[in-house]
């Protein structure tokens, strides 16, 4: 058996080593890539003085928020931590915790997928961020490690196939580090033409397994924020109206669960955040310049109202 264990371990090491080599030769270490902006966002978060507003979410926030405008109206420094849904809700919340101070307002706007199929524990992009920003490893919890192990083969494969078959981002892509401003908002797309996103499904997965843990993690975060004498709010992301209608049953069910179980104020109802299709840039979560302006004004009014009154 010892002979087998030795040889088999060597074989596994060879395969694992090759996977790492593949990752190294692709864009995992790309300091100019989209996910590398995570480093800048962390720095912005560290530097921001309190009381401040922190936005937490995925790319819906990266593309759909004008933080400068929020700062100007609400007179508080703003940091937009929104980057990529694949980082998972758990990581998004954990990376912010060390920087929550008294008087801060935290607005959590995750994509709908965060409540299903364990996306909350992260996927491939989290591996990228852990590589680019080693400090982030301190936030990792066992469910995330389990999820990342599961996703590792798929992740290696995605990187390899992008490299071999040239699915690497096109030259005119906005998916790079410098496409963001100092607040953490994506701005490179604002002058670009939008594409038709009507054919893109809201949920790619054929089966949606609800995660009760997602609400649990949000409630733990809300409790933590209260101990820091700060306030946390929840809101729904903007999606096209047609996609809202097509997925109304799922979204309304989630809304009911959140209304019943979530221990932080909810700023608005899902349907209020459904917008016309022409306001989206290249995905059902990514707003274009016009959409971003409308969304920002709505967030400002919702946050302003919530900061002085009890929400629904």
């Amino acid at each position: 058996m010892a002979r087998f264990v030795t040889k088999f371990s060597f074989f596994l090491l060879l395969v694992f080593g090759s996977s790492i080599a593949i990752l190294k030769t692709t864009d995992i270490g790309d300091n100019d890539g989209y996910l590398a902006v995570s480093i800048d966002k962390q720095r912005a978060l560290q530097a921001a003085r309190s009381p401040k507003i922190i936005f937490i979410g995925g790319s819906n926030l990266a593309f759909g928020l004008d933080s400068a405008r929020v700062e100007q109206v609400l007179q508080m420094p703003v940091v937009n931590m929104g980057l990529h849904g694949g980082l998972g809700l758990r990581y998004m919340l954990d990376e912010v915790k060390p920087f929550v101070r008294a008087g801060d307002m935290i607005v959590v706007i995750p994509e709908y997928q965060q409540f299903y199929n364990r996306l909350m524990d992260g996927e491939g992009p989290l591996i990228d961020v852990l590589y680019l920003y080693p400090n982030a490893r301190a936030y990792l919890e066992p469910p995330q490690l389990n999820q990342l192990l599961k996703k590792f083969p798929e992740y290696v494969q995605k990187k390899f196939q992008s490299f071999v078959f040239g699915v690497i981002q096109r030259q005119d892509s906005v998916y790079y580090r410098k496409a963001f401003n100092a607040y953490g908002d994506m701005v490179a797309h604002l002058s670009r033409q939008s594409s038709d996103v009507s054919g893109e499904p809201l949920f790619r997965a054929k089966r949606l397994d609800s995660d009760a843990d997602a609400i649990l993690v949000l409630n733990e975060f809300a409790a933590f924020v209260r101990t820091r004498e700060a306030r946390a709010f929840f809101d729904f992301p903007s999606i096209p109206q047609a996609h809202f209608r097509a997925n109304a049953a799922i979204i309304q069910d989630l809304d009911r669960r959140l209304t019943r179980e979530l221990q932080m104020p909810i700023l608005s109802r899902p349907e209020e955040n459904a917008l016309p299709l022409n306001l989206f840039y290249d995905s059902v979560y990514h707003l274009n310049a016009q959409g971003r302006t409308i969304r920002t004004e709505k967030i400002i009014s919702d946050v302003a109202r919530a900061s002085i009154a009890r929400t629904r």
Partner: protein, 485 residues
């Protein structure tokens, strides 16, 4: 638990390692616990259905052995009826109910039983058939009644073949649980190689083709002849690689622990005749039907017309075994008809010496292989279609849309089937590799021939296989098709 899940990648090494570390007398307990856990990963409560079956057949086995005369037959009937009732209730109740409702409606009366709303216990058709084969063999005197309830339970529940076979015979498997299996390097590595080959078939080929097949068969009205041909050929390889891949993983994982499960698939699309196809496809099921249905019906010891009826009945029942839908019955019926026509043609050929000589010609042999593949693929349309009307729509439109050859294999057309050109190219390359290996198998075991190669070449091959699975596998944890049966 799915073989292609992360759970299994943790489960398998732990179960195997502990199996080898335990003294022989405790191993059956460990395997039974592990198999129960494996089964309960689906719907835990259904384990009681399985326990009920085991208890019934355990008691039946012992009582049949002790009884004499007509009492033996009565006990066998009770055991078979219990198994079949359970299968009928879970699998065929809604089908029967829906058909009775339609029939009553057509006759102007009302039949209004509510359909039952629950999921079929996973692998029920497999383990009921395996369990029934035990009591039948005890009745026939080929198998001693198993006095050890744990061993009998393990025979029905042994995790590698619990949910999708191979449907083992008691006289092959039960005694293996009493054998001492020491760790054997060659056997363990051989088992792992078989598992890796199974994963290649499932993850690289079957699950990749599934996307395209599902898309076309879910919306047949959106497609035309060339799409149906392509999707049906894709399904022919999808189902073969899905099911034979499962069987390879099952046989490989059993082999690692020292168990020998029967061969279930043998290069099925190389068959030069329909009868040969059925000697290669789902061998454990086709031999089950041969031994426990066709032969008891009289087999070929009866008049020719009765034999033809027996063949046809066997194939209809085999179709129904696959699922409670008329599509499966038609699929079985088609194969029955193919076989009857083939038998007639064979009888004609024997009378014509020139035709008999032609049958031995290599080019003619190849033509026969291609014809059998085409006939089998045609029958797959009924197997895969969601309803008889969908199947008939596809069949009636097979020849529509061939007028512009330039766009038949165009990128836009392929992508409209939900698959990219790159993905299709990967699938075709993998099928090419599969067929190459299967052709090499004509010269003997590929694993044996690899074993004789220098270490560097051996390792390069293993490495290439592992990296192909890693880099080109589809990790959607898609269920195996035969799980639903």
């Amino acid at each position: 638990m799915l073989f292609n899940s992360f759970q299994f990648f943790v489960f398998f090494p732990i179960v195997t390692l502990i199996y080898f570390l335990l003294p022989h007398r405790f191993r059956w307990v460990w395997l039974l616990v592990a198999s129960s856990y494996f089964y309960m990963a689906f719907i835990p409560a259904y384990i009681f259905v399985l326990f009920f079956l085991i208890l019934v057949d355990y008691a039946a086995g012992i009582l049949i052995e002790r009884a004499e005369g007509s009492k033996r037959r009565l006990l066998l009937a009770i055991s078979l009826l219990s198994n079949l009732s359970l299968l009928g209730f879970f699998k065929y109740f809604n089908f029967l109910n829906a058909n009775l409702t339609s029939l009553a409606g057509a006759l102007g009366s009302v039949h209004s039983l509510q359909p039952l709303n629950f999921l079929l216990p996973i692998g029920l058709s497999f383990h009921t058939f395996q369990s029934m084969s035990y009591t039948i063999e005890v009745y026939r005197g080929r198998q001693k009644a198993e006095k050890h309830l744990g061993i009998l339970a393990l025979y029905v529940m042994f995790y590698p073949q619990l949910v999708a076979g191979p449907i083992e015979r008691s006289y092959n498997l039960i005694q293996q649980f009493r054998e001492k299996h020491a760790f054997d390097y060659a056997r363990v590595t051989d088992g792992l190689k078989l598992m890796a080959w199974g994963f290649f078939k499932k993850l690289v080929i079957a699950d990749r083709l599934a996307v395209m097949v599902n898309q076309v068969y879910a919306h047949p009205v959106d497609y035309s002849g060339p799409d149906f041909v392509l999707a049906t050929l894709a399904f022919a390889y999808q189902i073969y690689c899905d099911f034979s891949g499962y069987s390879d993983i099952a046989r490989g994982s059993a082999q690692v622990m020292g168990f020998r499960l029967m061969l279930n698939f043998d290069r099925v699309y190389h068959a030069p005749s329909i009868s040969d196809f059925w000697r290669r496809w789902h061998i454990s099921l086709s031999t089950w039907f041969r031994d426990y249905l066709y032969v008891p019906l009289g087999g070929n010891r009866v008049t020719q017309s009765r034999q033809r009826t027996n063949i046809f009945i066997t194939f209809l029942v085999s179709g129904l075994w696959h699922g409670a839908n008329w599509t499966f019955v038609v699929w079985g019926g088609l194969h029955g008809a193919y076989l009857l026509i083939e038998n007639w043609l064979r009888a004609q050929t024997r009378r014509q010496p020139r035709l008999d000589a032609l049958a031995k010609n290599r080019a003619f042999y190849l033509l026969r292989v291609v014809t059998v593949f085409a006939l089998v693929s045609f029958a797959w349309i009924f197997f895969r279609a969601n309803s008889i009307s969908d199947a008939l729509y596809i069949v009636s439109h097979l020849l529509v849309g061939w007028d512009n050859p330039a766009i038949i294999l165009s990128r836009a057309r392929i992508e409209s089937m939900g698959i990219t050109m790159t993905e299709l190219s990967i699938a075709l390359a993998a099928i090419g590799a599969l067929e190459t290996v299967q052709l090499l198998q004509n010269r003997g075991s590929v694993r044996d021939s690899v074993r004789r190669k220098p270490a560097l070449i051996r390792w390069a091959l293993y490495y290439a296989l592992a990296m192909t699975i890693l880099l080109f596998g589809v990790y959607a944890e898609r269920e195996f098709i035969y799980f639903q049966f």
